[in-house]
Chain length 193, copies 2
């Protein structure tokens, strides 16, 4: 079977839930927030700072120059490098599911991966957030746009690839059509193929 | 079930074969070259001309200006309009599989569609062409690049969308991982969902 399943996902599309279900179906570990804690341990960064930095869309050259000065490696880049080491160390342990954090790109050389991109309709995603976070539809849509923008920029900055370009993934799936359970079943089946 | 399954595909990725298998699994009609013949009938264009025009990547403004002059609608645009009418008429008859021809875009309003993008690795595609067309690997790779470029441009010109951008499809699948049969099974299952 494909050893490492990476899941990239639009915000609130159900990617994390699918990841947990796939891990259960295949009886392998699931890593999401665990990566933040491991990166904190390995790098000395505070977990809360890591989480903020992951979700920031301000990886621009000028931003980094202002925050970090001309000659030092930006903190966000140091953080990304630490996350890469953690992800590779986890992947070396054996089959697992890794959600987010450009893992498809980080593991592109020398690892046997099955790369997934999960997306959905605005309607499906809004319903999930409104229910979960007690937001109006307009508020939910605004959160979705912001979070997706940050993820797209983060991915582009570190990988030079286009987030959600199908040719970078083995499977892309619309959860508004598949639902969560069937998507997880299909991924588990393909990963075993 | 989703009424109309549209399949867009990288050249030699197995999309047409998958389309035929899905149609068989669901016992619904499969339309590919049939659309050329129907368009020829409806428009008076020669089928051979239609086929050439579909595969041309010269839908540029300057090209059309040179060929068609300033004031007439370019022939390729007239042809596309005729194909749209044919595709919509076929879709109105009932559930079916339609391969290529921007059908996902043509049917985006008022039709119940399940849209698929099929892609694969260069290796998988080269092997299919070398075997089928008796080409060297370099020749096969060159054909792949040319055909994909034409399809990408054609799609962009008529839809203003990016060919293979996962958010425009309900499923994108890498046949180098899934193979042809499992991809067809998954599509049939999702379309029925």
């Amino acid at each position: 079977m494909a050893k490492i399943i990476t899941i990239s996902r639009q915000y609130a599309s159900g990617g994390s839930e699918i990841g947990r279900k796939v891990a259960k179906l295949l009886d392998i570990p699931y890593y999401d927030r665990e990566i933040i804690d491991a990166t904190a341990k390995e790098s000395g960064f505070d977990p809360a700072y890591i989480e903020r930095a992951e979700q920031s869309s301000t990886n621009s050259f000028l931003y980094n120059l202002a925050i970090n000065g001309m000659y030092s490696q930006p903190l966000t880049d140091q953080l990304f490098a630490a996350e890469c080491r953690v992800i590779k160390a986890l992947a070396e342990k054996g089959p697992c599911v890794i959600v987010g954090r450009c893992a498809d790109y980080v593991l592109k050389d020398g690892f046997d991966t099955f790369n997934v991109f999960v997306h959905s309709t605005d309607k499906f995603r809004c319903e999930r957030i409104c229910e979960h976070d007690n937001l109006t539809e307009d508020e939910a849509l605004s959160v979705i746009r912001q979070k997706d923008k940050a993820r797209r920029r983060h991915y582009k900055y570190y990988t030079e690839r286009v987030w959600g370009d199908s040719v970078n993934y083995d499977l892309c799936i619309n959860t508004a059509v598949s639902g969560i359970d069937l998507a997880a079943e299909i991924i588990a089946k393909l990963a075993k193929n």
